[in-house]
C-alpha cells in the first residue's frame, strides 16, 4: 500500500479548499457558488478523515458523516432559496442582488 505523507494529504485538502474559495469568488452564477461552498465543506471534512486515520480514531469518520448531513440540509435550503430567487428576479446572477443594503 502506497503511503502518502500527512503533509501531502493536508496540502491536498488545502488545495481543494482553495479551489472552492476561488470558484466562489470568481463565479457569478449562484448555483456555481453553492457548488463551490460544497467543495470547501468537503475539503474541511477531508481534514477530519485525514486526522482520524493519522491517530487511528473513528471520530474523524463520524464527524465526516455529520458534515455530510449538514451539507445535505444546507443544499436543500440553498436550492430552495435559489428557486425563490429565480422566481422573483428571473436571474441567477448574485451581483444583481444588492438591494438588501437599503
Amino acid at each position: 500500500m502506497v503511503t502518502v505523507s500527512m503533509e501531502m494529504q493536508i496540502l491536498f485538502a488545502g488545495l481543494l479548499f482553495l479551489t472552492g474559495l476561488v470558484g466562489f469568488l470568481v463565479r457569478r452564477n449562484i448555483i456555481f457558488m453553492l457548488m463551490s461552498i460544497e467543495i470547501m465543506l468537503n475539503s474541511a471534512a477531508l481534514v477530519f478523515v485525514i486526522a482520524g486515520s493519522h491517530w487511528m480514531q473513528t471520530d474523524g469518520q463520524v464527524m465526516f458523516i455529520f458534515i455530510l448531513t449538514v451539507s445535505a440540509a444546507e443544499v436543500s435550503v440553498g436550492l430552495a432559496l435559489i428557486l425563490q430567487m429565480y422566481h422573483h428576479f428571473k436571474t441567477l446572477d448574485a451581483d444583481a442582488l444588492k438591494k438588501l443594503r437599503d
Binding site: L25, D95, L97, K98
Partner: protein, 625 residues
C-alpha cells in the same frame, strides 16, 4: 379635624396622578367626577377645618401639621409641614371654593375638547400646587408650590398647543415670571445665609430681632422677594405676560390668571410682612409700583378690543390695588380685596368665557353686541361682576374692599395723598372700562347670534359667584356704615393694624367721592360708548389709543432692550471657537461614516473577498508570532 389638613392639598394631587396616568382609559364622566370631586372635597375640608379653627382657636394661634422630613443635612432641615392660620385659611378657602366652582364650570365648557382629561389633570395639579404654596410652613416648600403653579400656568396657557401663538404666549409667561423667580430664589439664599433656616415663623422672629429697620440686608432681601412677587403678580415692570396669557381656555384665565395664582405675590408679601416692615423703602416701592401699575393697566384696559384682554388688564390693575394696600401697611385690606377680587373676577372671566363659548370663539367685543336679550342670565351675572369690579356703592362687595384701600390710602401714616389720588383715578378708569365693555358687548344691535344656550352646569357657578360678589363684602364694613369687622377681626394680632395719620376723619366724604367717581365713570361710558359720541369714534383712531392698546409699548420696549440684543449677540456668536470644536467632531465622524459605509455595498462576493483577506491577514499574524 386639624389632623386632616394635609388632605387639603393631597386630594387634588392624588386626583391629578390618577387622571394623568389613566386619563385615556377613564370615561369623560369619571374624569369630571374625579377632577371636580377632589377639589370640592378639599373645599369642604377647608370649610370644616376653618370652622373648627375659628370656633376653638389653638392656643398658639396657628396649627402646624408636620408630615414628613423632606431634606435633612448638616445645618439644614426642610419639613413638608403645613401651617394653618387665618391667612392660609382665607387663601385656601378661595382656592378650593372658587376652584371647585371653576372645575364644575369646566365640565361643560371643555366637554367637546379632545384634551378633556389632560385639562383636568393640569387643573388639579395647579390646585394642589397652589395649596402647597399657601400652606407651606417654610419658604422652600413654598417655592416648590410657587414653581408648580408656574408650570401649570405654562401648560394651561399653551393648552391648545396646535396654535403656534399659544405656545409663544405660554413661553413668554414662563420666561417673564422666571425673571422674578430668579430674584426670589436669590432672596431665599440670602435669608438662609443670614439666619440658617427657611422656616417662615423662625425667619420672621429672627429678622425682627437681629435686623434693625432699614438695614441694608433687610432691604435687599425684601427687594429680592418683591421681585418674585412682581413676576408672579404681573406688576410693573414684569406685567407683559398676563395679557398674552389669555390664550388659554377661559376657566384657566378665571382660576389661574385672575383668582389665585397671580395673587401669589400678595400672599408672599403678606406672609413675610415682618421682613417688609423692616424695609420701609421697599414698602414705599410696593405702594408706588401698585399705584403706577393700576393706572397703566387701567388705561390699557380702556383700549382693548378682546373681551378677555380687557379683563386681563383689569386684573393687573386690581392687583395693583392690593400692592398699594400692602405698601401702605393695610395688610388685611389687601387680603380682603384679594378675596373679593377672586369672586368677581372669576365671575367675569367665567361669564366672558360663556359668551365666547356660545359665540363660537368670538373674542372681539365690537363683533358682539345686543347680547342682553339673547343671554339674559349671563348678562345679569356679568353686570353684577362688572358692578362689583367698578365698586358700585353699598350693594356690591367690590365697594367695601376697594373703599377700604382708598380710605387707608388717605389715612395711613405711611401713605401720601398722591397714592390716594392714583387710587381714585384708577377707580374712575375701572368703572369706565368695565361699563364700556358691558355697553359694547350686551347693548346695541346683535352682531353675532349665540349658537345655543348655556347649560345648567355652566350657569350654577355663575350664580353662586354672582351672589358672593354682592354679599361677600358685608363681612367687613367701614366704621360709619356698620359695625362689621369679621374679616379684619380674623387677623387681629396676626397682621399689624394700619396706623392712622392726623389728617382727620373724612371717611364719609371720601366714600361719597368714590361713589361719585364710580357713577361718573358709568355715565361717561354711557355717553361715550352707548350713545357713541363723536369724540369716542375719533379717539378710537387716535395714536394715543393705539399706544394704550399695545399696553404702553412695553412689549416693543423689551424687544428693543432685551430680546433683540440677545438675538443679535447669539447671531454673531454663532461660530465661536467652542462651537467649532463640536462642529468638527461631528464633521469627522460623518466623514469616516461615509468612508466605511462604502464597504456595505450589498455585493455578496465582495463581502466574501473581504472576509478571506481578513482571514489570511489574521492567519499570517498567528503563524508569524
Amino acid at each position: 379635624m386639624t389632623t386632616l389638613i394635609w388632605l387639603i392639598p393631597v386630594l387634588p394631587l392624588l386626583s391629578f396622578l390618577i387622571i394623568a396616568l389613566f386619563g385615556r382609559l377613564l370615561p369623560k364622566k369619571a374624569v369630571a367626577i374625579l377632577g371636580f370631586g377632589s377639589v370640592a372635597l378639599s373645599a369642604v375640608l377647608t370649610i370644616v377645618a376653618g370652622i373648627g379653627f375659628l370656633s376653638s382657636p389653638p392656643p398658639e394661634g396657628v396649627i402646624l401639621s408636620k408630615i414628613y422630613t423632606w431634606i435633612e443635612t448638616a445645618g439644614f432641615t426642610a419639613q413638608i409641614a403645613f401651617l394653618f392660620d387665618p391667612l392660609s385659611l382665607v387663601f385656601c378657602f378661595v382656592i378650593t371654593f372658587v376652584g371647585a366652582l371653576i372645575h364644575l364650570y369646566s365640565i361643560e365648557f371643555m366637554s367637546d375638547d379632545d384634551g378633556f382629561s389632560r385639562f383636568f389633570a393640569y387643573m388639579n395639579l395647579f390646585v394642589g400646587s397652589m395649596l402647597i404654596l399657601v400652606l407651606a410652613d417654610n419658604l422652600l416648600l413654598l417655592y416648590l408650590g410657587w414653581e408648580g403653579v408656574g408650570l401649570c400656568s405654562y401648560l394651561l396657557i399653551g393648552f391648545w398647543y396646535k396654535e403656534p401663538d399659544n405656545g409663544y404666549a405660554a413661553r413668554k409667561a414662563f420666561i417673564v415670571t422666571r425673571i422674578g423667580d430668579t430674584a426670589m430664589i436669590l432672596g431665599l439664599f440670602l435669608l438662609f445665609v443670614s439666619f440658617g433656616t427657611l422656616d417662615i415663623s423662625d425667619l420672621m422672629q429672627d429678622a425682627s430681632e437681629k435686623w434693625v429697620t432699614g438695614s441694608p440686608l433687610a432691604v435687599i432681601s425684601a427687594l429680592l422677594l418683591l421681585g418674585g412677587a412682581l413676576g408672579k403678580s404681573a406688576q410693573l415692570p414684569l406685567q407683559t405676560w398676563l395679557p398674552d396669557a389669555m390664550a388659554g381656555p377661559s376657566p384657566v384665565s378665571a382660576l389661574i390668571h385672575a383668582a389665585t395664582m397671580v395673587t401669589a405675590g400678595v400672599y408672599l408679601i403678606t406672609r413675610t410682612h415682618v421682613l417688609f416692615m423692616l424695609a420701609p423703602v421697599v414698602m414705599t416701592a410696593i405702594a408706588i409700583i401698585g399705584a403706577v401699575t393700576l393706572l397703566v393697566a387701567g388705561f390699557s384696559a380702556l383700549a382693548q378690543t378682546d373681551l378677555k384682554r380687557v379683563l386681563a388688564y383689569s386684573t393687573i390693575s386690581q392687583i395693583g390695588y392690593m400692592f398699594l394696600a400692602m405698601g401702605i401697611g393695610a395688610w388685611s385690606a389687601g387680603v380682603f380685596h384679594f378675596m373679593i377680587h377672586a369672586f368677581f373676577k372669576a365671575l367675569l372671566f367665567l361669564s366672558a368665557g360663556a359668551v365666547i363659548h356660545l359665540l363660537n370663539h368670538e373674542h372681539d367685543i365690537f363683533r358682539m353686541g345686543g347680547l342682553r336679550k339673547k343671554l339674559p342670565v349671563i348678562y345679569i351675572t356679568f353686570l353684577i361682576g362688572g358692578a362689583s369690579l367698578s365698586a358700585l356703592p353699598l350693594i356690591t362687595a367690590g365697594f367695601y374692599s376697594k373703599d377700604q384701600i382708598l380710605w387707608f390710602g388717605w389715612s395711613s401714616v405711611i401713605s401720601s395723598h398722591w397714592l390716594w389720588l392714583a387710587g381714585i383715578t384708577g377707580a374712575l378708569l375701572t368703572s369706565l372700562y368695565t361699563f364700556r365693555m358691558i355697553f359694547i358687548t350686551f347693548f346695541g344691535e346683535t352682531k353675532t347670534e349665540p349658537a345655543h344656550k348655556s347649560g345648567l352646569i355652566m350657569t350654577i357657578p355663575l350664580i353662586v359667584l354672582a351672589v358672593l360678589s354682592l354679599v361677600g363684602g358685608f363681612i367687613e364694613m367701614p366704621e360709619n356704615i356698620g359695625p362689621m369687622h369679621l374679616f379684619s377681626g380674623l387677623f387681629d394680632g396676626f397682621l399689624p393694624d394700619v396706623i392712622l395719620n392726623e389728617r382727620g376723619n373724612h371717611e364719609l366724604i371720601l366714600q361719597i367721592l368714590s361713589g361719585v367717581v364710580t357713577f361718573g365713570g358709568i355715565w361717561l361710558a354711557y355717553r361715550l360708548f352707548y350713545k357713541k359720541s363723536a369724540f369716542a369714534i375719533r379717539y378710537k383712531e387716535s395714536r394715543i389709543n393705539k399706544f394704550f392698546y399695545s399696553g404702553w409699548g412695553f412689549d416693543r420696549l423689551y424687544a428693543l432692550l432685551f430680546v433683540r440684543p440677545t438675538a443679535w449677540l447669539s447671531e454673531i456668536d454663532k461660530k465661536d471657537f467652542i462651537d467649532l470644536i463640536y462642529k468638527n467632531i461631528a464633521g469627522v465622524t460623518v466623514y469616516f461614516n461615509l468612508i466605511v459605509s462604502r464597504t456595505q455595498n450589498g455585493k455578496l462576493r465582495w463581502y466574501v473577498l473581504v472576509l478571506t483577506i481578513g482571514i489570511v491577514v489574521i492567519l499570517t499574524f498567528m503563524i508569524s508570532l
